[in-house]
Amino acid sequence: MTELVSMEFHPQPQPGEARPWAFPAPERGSLDNGLTVLRCHRPGQQVVAVEIHLDAPLDAEPTGLDGVATIMARAFSEGTDKHSAEEFAAELERCGATLDSHADHPGVRLSLEVPVSRLPKALGLLADALRAPAFVDSEIERLVRNRLDEIPHEMANPGRRAAKELSKELFPATSRMSRPRQGTEETVAGIDSAAVRAFYEKHVRPATATVVVVGDLTGTDLDALLADTLGAWTGSSGEPRPVPPVVADDTGRVVIVDRPGAVQTQLLIGRVGADRHDRVWPAQVLGTYCLGGTLTSRLDKVLREEKGYTYGVRAFGQVLRSAPDGTGAAMLAISGSVDTPNTGPALADLWNELRKLAAGGLTDAERDIAVQNLVGVAPLKFETAAAVAGTLADQVEQHLPDDYQATLYRQLAATGTVEATAAAVSAFPVDRLVTILVGDAAQIAEPVKALGIGEVTVVTG
């Protein structure tokens, strides 16, 4: 039954003339202490974003002290030679600033956001944190205990639990990548202020660090400001660390993390593949988007919009770590949640979509719409200073040129359907995927075994 409609209809409008936009080119320089500086003026962006990359990667953590980089990163905002931990937090918030920090495989990142009127003050605090962190015993003890308290929360979260299991499965036990980024209960418990200071002294220095400043810098003398703040940070010269190669075992198999009574199964299906240094990256981005980038991509078209098995399933590629010589790698994965009774049917459909992709390839229409989206959304995506600064800092930690993102958009636009298909098919080969399922094993194990997507094992926890 259709309803009488009384409005006046018009044909779908045609677009106007596109207005030019390009990913901003940063200006590169350095301070006397060797700190690399990237800056980018973005008119109208009153909240300035400052990103710091430190060449202190997780594989530099001493054996048995996984998590020391994380504790150090957090301890940067727990007091300096001028302020106690409480005072430091209060001073930052007085600026209306936020300071986030985290440690990951490529290194430690600090992200400051602050209204431009209070940039000098906040940049001074950030410089103090890097130059003279207090690392007071009792504050480190508190951070360690806090971190230990967080671990059960992460293990209880289906998405986080799946990610930990996938890392453990994919990478050899000797690789730092196989173990949780922020450490385990055993390793974190062994961290103290001496360990944090030793890690800091060995790996944190301006000569191997980069600062990225993005925002409306009208009227800000950034050179003078940087000289007064981060310029006072000293340290020995340092060579960049060699990057260990990434190896992974992607033999097709299934691990079920048992959650009796779970109403949904969290899926994480992954392997390791090319990073941004590889020529295939733009085609891989395009192909992955067509497979599972959005609600209208192949996976959701079936799993969500036809079958209703899920709120959404996404395919993505996320750089793990890159090396200047191109030996880095990215995690290629498909993730989402499906209701427990439909876990078997949902995985069957998912594998069916992968097989259909390999057999029939993408259509030109799919490729066109993906390119139009990926390239077209750039001005929206990079409206804020934080988005631009984050991407510039990613490029730095991934050893990419400053014009990488701008170049990527041109490459995406020039990538054809055949290349995108080939990249997607080799990114997600049906027999080389490690599947992690966090769900009720009693209900899902048998249907999953019947799919023939690899040996099925069940673990608890």
């Binding site: 409609v5 409005m7 409480e86 209060a90 899920t310 719409i369 139009q372």
Partner: protein, 472 residues
């Protein structure tokens, strides 16, 4: 059509301006130019949310929002998503207690497409709505509920606290996600009636912000929306007014398979749009915002009894707002220890009020949150709609930060003293049980009804997103 507001910046608006217009069919339009980036945001607020839902049909406003993406007269199936994304745009829709919003951010030269799409579904959704969409989106929404609430630790919290804080029969007693039973019970005819009742131009505000030509934009809006007939007959939502103070401490203990004990509470606070609500926002920021707040310093830094402790404000215009406390305990610390410390801090604050430094910090934090919100065209479009729909004047969005900065320390103390008291809160205590005894209860609770963003629950009390459901 312009209603007299000119594009002249008011004091404290950061130089931003907006003009207001009204079509003959009652559609209110707000336009704001910003030519820094070649993008344009379209935002459409319908004055309908979960508070308008009838008994036995909780979750209908949100389920209906999903159906708005299933095609209309001139747009096939998923065409709305496909066309916007294919044009380089992004889009979504969300449902809260008080409104449903739909938004597209487009490259500026694709603005007309977004307007055409929104008009098509406003005027002709029922030409396309069928059983197949209804059944499919019912399953999708049930899976959204499982993913965001039922299958995550503490997923119960938001729904349970809301149900405690607003009495049975109150329009805000249930959350937008609704119950599984009601989602199952909703019919296609319910959805059709919902559309006929609430989706009319005179029950909506459309804002367009960004790199636009206002005259051209208004002409397009007239062309596409102008012929959609107005519809009166929307029933008034049930009155959400309640006494200022609950009058007793409401309490529920949840025994579930969660990783740690938790103390959560909802305090009844002044309605959004009042000075007292802004004062409450500052009070909660001093007490529990960020990492220099009184509760964070006390519980996390000094006593070391909590892994995370914070306050958030859920602003509501049609009912009392909620001040949202969330504390996860450290190690084997017991909840009464936390509760005693919280009460002590709140009582002290009610007596002494904020220090000048605390006032400065809280205002700086809220000012910066406003700069963030108004710093993107999409954020600005949403705020203009919010103030137009809830308070009748979009211009208030541009001066909101100024009003927060005008609040005095005495006003902050007053609202804390009057409202942040034990007899004005609903308390939820989580006591973990082990997997063996816990799983049957967990499974049962899952079918009942829960709500809250839990994945990053260890971080702090975040309430702004918790009451929103989205299509994407």
């Amino acid at each position: 059509m312009p209603m007299g507001h000119t594009a002249t910046a008011e004091a404290g608006s950061g130089g931003l301006t907006a003009t207001e217009h009204r079509l003959d069919n009652g559609l209110r339009v707000v336009l704001s130019e910003d030519h820094l980036t070649p993008v344009a945001a379209v935002c459409l607020w319908y004055d309908v949310g979960s508070r308008h839902e009838a008994k036995g049909r909780t979750g209908l406003a949100h389920l209906f929002e999903h159906l708005m993406f299933q095609g209309s007269k001139q747009v096939d199936g998923n065409g709305h998503f496909e066309l916007v994304q294919g044009a380089g745009g992004s889009l979504n829709g969300t449902t809260s207690f008080e409104r449903t919003n739909y938004f597209e951010t487009m490259p500026a030269h694709q603005l007309e497409l977004a307007l055409w799409l929104e008009a098509d579904r406003m005027g002709s959704l029922l030409a396309a709505l069928d059983d197949k969409s209804m059944e499919n989106q019912r399953d999708v929404v049930k899976n959204e509920r499982r993913q965001r609430y039922d299958n995550v630790p503490y997923g119960t919290a938001f729904e349970k606290l809301t149900a405690l804080a607003y009495p049975e029969g109150h329009p805000y007693h249930h959350t937008p996600i609704g119950s599984m039973a009601d989602l199952d019970a909703a019919t296609l005819e319910d959805a059709r009636n919902f559309f006929r009742t609430y989706y009319a131009p005179n029950n909506a505000v459309l804002s367009v912000v960004g790199d636009i030509d206002p005259e051209q934009t208004l002409a397009w809006i007239n062309k596409y929306f102008g012929s959609i007939p107005a519809h009166d007959g929307k029933p008034e939502p049930r009155d959400g007014a309640l006494p200022d103070i609950i009058g007793e401490q409401l309490r529920e203990v949840v025994e579930e398979e969660v990783p740690a004990r938790a103390l959560m509470a909802a305090y009844r606070l002044p309605e959004d749009g009042t000075r007292a609500c802004d004062a409450a926002d500052l009070a909660l920021t001093v007490l529990g915002g960020g990492e220099s707040s009184r509760l964070y310093n006390r519980l996390v830094r000094r006593d070391r009894t909590a892994v995370a402790a914070g306050f958030g404000l859920l602003r509501l215009a049609g009912a009392p707002s909620l001040g949202w406390l969330d504390v996860k305990t450290s190690g084997d610390v017991e909840v009464p220890v936390i509760e005693a410390a919280v009460d002590e801090e709140l009582a002290r604050f009610a007596e002494e009020g904020p220090t000048p430094e605390e006032m400065e910090r809280a205002q700086a934090q809220l000012e910066r949150e406003w700069l963030d919100r108004l710093g993107t065209v999409a954020g600005r479009a949403d705020e203009l709609c919010r103030f137009a729909v809830l308070f009748g004047d979009p211009q208030l969005a541009l001066t909101a930060v100024q009003r927060v900065l005008e609040i005095t320390p005495e006003e902050v103390r007053e609202v804390a003293k009057a409202r942040l008291r034990p007899d004005n809160r609903a308390v939820l205590v989580y006591e973990p049980v082990t997997a063996d005894t816990g799983s049957p209860q967990a499974a049962e609770a899952a079918e009942a009804a829960e709500a809250a963003e839990a994945a990053e629950a260890a971080e702090a009390a975040e309430t702004t997103e918790e009451n929103e459901e989205s299509a994407k």
